[in-house]
């Protein structure tokens, strides 16, 4: 039984990662799961300087999901390198750093700073719906996405994964733009913009008014988009959106994802990542499947 996959030359012991923003840098969940078991850890978004994030309330539950508008609160790259990367060095797990910024220059600053670190890959956040500048502004127009991808590729020493937003008319256009600009992989989907109103108070629940919807509620949308992108590009895809179980993860892989990320479900079940890995191993055994790689995009075969 072989669960290994590789993305842009980075070998993963299994295809199960954490989704950015749902797992910190692993410190908080290291008490629940053995971080060494994970295929990779994708960190929360980090910018060139500390970002305070949005006012509260920042989170609220919705049916089979949640809305968040954290606004990418983060300590900035200096603290991140000194503290978070130092912490992760003790683990035998590839680290993928999620990079955010308000301008192309800010992204590049973080990308360059990470160049001489042990970080395995960079995931470029051009899809956070909760900040006013940057982020999603680069991820909703194919030419803007092409441009930032190209600029980052010029400076990046690690493989570059562009994280795509589902809040677009045609996500395959975005996938193609990223690929054409030299992205090594794409990850999808980020959250779907949503809104919740407190009827008793006649007010928005979130201080930011809108938030990003995540959790099992968005899974079918995410699986569909992964499938579409898998047919539009030939670079590897990291699929995510409401994965709670091994079966959910296998849906993404069968739709064409090479790897998957467990996101908001970590909040509901802090053991979810390892349970997905174990369930995947059981599936391979029970179905006499030699390698997980056979299953990538298998629905079309």
């Amino acid at each position: 039984m072989d669960t290994r996959v590789s993305i842009a030359g980075v070998e993963l012991k299994n295809p199960v990662m954490t989704a950015s923003g749902t797992f910190g840098s692993g410190m908080e969940y290291g008490r629940f799961v053995d971080l060494n078991r994970l295929g990779a850890i994708v960190t929360k978004g980090v910018a060139s300087v500390p970002w305070p994030g949005n006012p509260t309330p920042r989170v609220t539950e919705t049916p089979s999901g949640m809305l968040n508008a954290i606004g990418l609160q983060n300590p900035g790259i200096d603290v991140f390198v000194e503290r978070d990367l130092a912490f992760l060095k003790d683990y035998d797990v590839p680290v993928i750093v999620n990079v955010c910024g308000k301008t192309v220059e800010e992204y590049l600053e973080v990308v360059e700073r990470l160049g001489d670190t042990s970080v395995a890959m960079l995931e470029i956040n051009v899809s956070c719906p909760n900040v006013k500048e940057g982020a999603i502004a680069f991820g909703q127009k194919a030419d803007a996405l092409f441009h930032i991808t190209e600029e980052i590729k010029k400076k990046a020493k690690q493989p570059v994964v562009m994280k795509l937003s589902p809040n677009v008319t045609d996500i395959t256009e975005m996938a193609k733009a990223a690929e054409a600009a030299g992205a090594d992989a794409i990850s999808l989907i980020n959250t779907i913009t949503g809104m919740k109103i407190d009827v008793a108070k006649r007010k928005f629940v979130l201080a930011n008014k809108t938030g990003g919807l995540s959790g099992p509620a968005i899974r079918p949308v995410a699986v569909r988009m992964v499938y579409q992108c898998a047919h539009a590009v030939s670079i590897p895809i990291i699929g995510m959106g409401g994965i709670a179980t091994a079966e959910d993860a296998l849906e993404f892989i069968m739709a064409g994802a090479t790897a998957v990320s467990v996101g908001a479900v970590n909040f509901a079940n802090p053991y979810a990542t390892v349970e997905v890995i174990e369930g995947m191993e059981r599936y391979l055994q029970d179905t006499h499947t030699e390698t997980i790689r056979e299953l990538i995009g298998c629905v079309d075969r």
Binding site: E28, R31, P50, R58, E61, I70, N74, P75, V265, F267
Partner: protein, 261 residues
Amino acid sequence: MDYRKKETTVVVSQKEISAGIFDLRVRTQAAAYCVPGQFAGIFPPSDSRMLMRPISICEANAESGEIRFVYRVAGEGTKLISALKEGDTAELLSVLGNGFPLDAAEGKKVAVMGGGIGIPPMLYTAKKLAGKTAETEIYLGYRNNDTFLASEFTPYGTVNVVSEDGSTAYKGNVLDALKERGFKPEVIFACGPMPMLRAIKRYAEEAGCIAYISLEERMACGVGACLGCVAKTVNKDEHSHVNNTRVCTEGPVFDSREVEI
């Protein structure tokens, strides 16, 4: 001394002790690791409700292995939790957050103040302070004469029950009562609605005493990863260095001088 797990616990009992206020007891080893002011996440028994409800610990008993929660039904999630019966299972994420620094009360004149659904954690606090302080006065603020839990505080100090509508002996808020009695606490432990906590923060600054206040905020993970539940701080916070500290992890109890509320 540290316990943090998501686990399936067994409901020992649950009853409605007042209109919309429920008293839930569950059995878990976590009971041996609780400190007053800490909380647990209770997951509504429903596949479509994914987040825990952060609920303060009203009592924890290491011998019986029981944690008691007294909470108000505020929405669909807590309504589902309130339907749990003896023998049912309850998914619990515990023990979360930091409790009140009880040692700060050693030999001091202490005011224990609770308002509304902020009263339950103060029962546990008052109980654990018994015998430690020079003097304990307890101030409990209610909306009306529905004074749930008030009688249980009697063994732990002088109890002053106040109500907004004057249907109890004293009409007003907990601070009015404290001032009228002329009690001059050196340390305050408090949990309650934001206006009450703001007033206590101001009072402590003016009176030169120390107030430890327990904050409430909407949470997702409860363990410090999501950064959903932040409170504004005077100084740079430890996690993000942006004056936004995590209520679930650095709190929910704060020295009132540290937070801007």
